[in-house]
């Protein structure tokens, strides 16, 4: 399912978080929203999910051609994964994942057997089958994040939104989950947007990268394109490419700036 965002503005008090965002995410794409903190990337993701509403004005959000701008979060069916996992502490892993199915209206709610089947299938896919009866506070960070992912997928979301999904995990687990996410996406081809401030993560996982800065989209392109042709100074600085030539022709003369670049990474 495609997601289209048209001229979205958002201000918090006097602060302009987003100043006219236009973006089209094609069906089955995995897109990274990359930017420094304060660039508005999380705000944009929350607006897509319906957790935040854009300022009044011409802005619109379309899910597969349907205008959802005025819809509440619970009507949009967007799977959202929080950086903090936001698991329900008083429910088992199984019940966490089943929650989105159990709250459906009687007419659309699957039977108990169907819920069981779907949750067990998801538990298998995130490799947590043996943890079904555990409570979230007994799991590690990586396991919790996988529960959060399975919970979001249980409702068969039209789009998957991940907010710094691996931000709170240690480097090794982060790398593993990143690969797992990419492989998972290859299988399901679920339209996915994920927010990160880590360019390595964005470049490794996504089909396209959207670089946000100061409330605007600075550049959109495939990882290779963005790296090869940074659109402007902001992107160059953010990626740590102060001057393209430094990267292409490393020389002893540029030792100092190379070190700076490595620091930035």
């Amino acid at each position: 399912m495609s997601v289209v965002i048209e001229s979205i503005h958002k201000t918090f008090g006097r602060f302009n978080a987003l100043e006219g965002i236009d973006l089209k995410v094609e069906t089955g794409e995995l897109v990274a929203l990359l930017g420094p903190s304060g660039s508005g990337k999380t705000t944009l993701l929350r607006i897509i999910a319906g957790l935040e509403f854009p300022d009044d004005g011409p802005g619109n959000i379309f899910f597969h051609g349907t205008d959802v701008t005025e819809r509440d979060a619970y009507e949009r069916r967007a799977g959202f994964v929080f950086q903090s996992y936001a698991l329900f502490q008083h429910m088992t892993v199984f019940e966490n994942i089943a929650f989105g199915l159990r709250v459906r209206s009687r007419a659309t709610r699957p039977s108990e057997a169907e819920i069981n089947a779907r949750v067990n299938d998801l538990l298998g896919r995130v490799q947590l089958t043996q943890f079904a009866k555990r409570f979230p506070n007994t799991l590690s960070g990586g396991q919790r994040q996988r529960v959060a992912l399975a919970r979001a997928l249980a409702i068969e979301p039209r789009v998957l939104l991940l907010d710094e999904p691996f931000g709170a995990l240690d480097a090794k687990v982060r790398k593993e989950l990143r690969r797992w996410l990419r492989a998972f996406h290859e299988q399901t081809r679920l339209t996915t947007l994920f927010v990160t401030h880590d360019q390595e993560e964005a470049f490794e996982v996504s089909d396209r990268v959207v670089i946000l800065g100061e409330g605007r989209i600075q550049q959109i392109g495939s990882p290779a394109e963005v790296r090869a042709n940074p659109a402007n100074d902001f992107v160059r600085k953010f990626l740590g490419l102060d001057d393209e030539s430094e990267l292409l022709i490393p020389s002893p003369l540029h030792e100092g700036s190379r070190a700076r670049e490595l620091d930035a990474v």
Partner: protein, 297 residues
Amino acid sequence: MSDAVSSSIPYRRFGNRTILPGFHLSLGYTLIYVSLLVLIPMAFLVAKVFTEPFAATWAKITSDRAIASYMLSFGASGIAALINGVFGFIIAWVLVRYEFPGRRFADAVVDLPFALPTAVAGISLAVLYGKNGTFGEWVHWAVGPEAWRAGWATANSNIGVTIALTFIGLPFVVRTLQPVLEDLSTDIEEAAACLGATRWQTFWRIIVPAILPAWLTGMTLAFGRAVGEFGSVIFIASGVIGRGEITPLVIYTTLEEGLYSQAAALGAVMLVFSFLILVVVSLLQAWNGRVTGSASV
């Protein structure tokens, strides 16, 4: 809540080595303090019951008058605790979740029932809810004089007792819920919304289970306080023998008649009932902790 602490911190047992000093000293201190302050007076109360022939005492504590007073004391306290459960939650929610002018003031006002001498509260309420008081006048007008006389009076009546007990119990629910609501992050509500839960479902399935232990504790405290309340109630109760007396008032009049052991027996009955109720609530808490694994709340 207390379950959470006890299950996550292993008990210190005799003979175990620990880096924390002073276990024996603090245990001894705790036992002595609890004994001096609570257990010994309670034991004397029970002992006092048996200083005189038990037949007369038994007749007293099972008399119609006494039983009616238990019903009023525990019934009105229970109703008051439930009312406070609902409205205390709303107040705590508003104080925690919203910023508005006068929030700090409203927050401070919640504690007034703690600080006010109960007799002052009782007199104020009796005047306000009396037939000629501001609120009493409205009710009198709304229900008509006949219904007022038949039991709808808001002062000199059992309704008045409930109003007074609600007043003094309010802070307990608000103050026990506030910290729990502050800890409850909004992203679990957002997660529930993204999963398709309506606000109502989010409230019942996500928020209530998370705050239930604290909520029960708050209502139990409000109930306990209400059962023991005397000062504010006597001004607004009707005091009609066999219908409008709370148990503490029956104890007081029994004492005035010089029947000390009978008064002690009435006190002991209250003690037993209160204890049973506290036990039931803590069993409920434990059960809730087991079925929800809420050691983490």
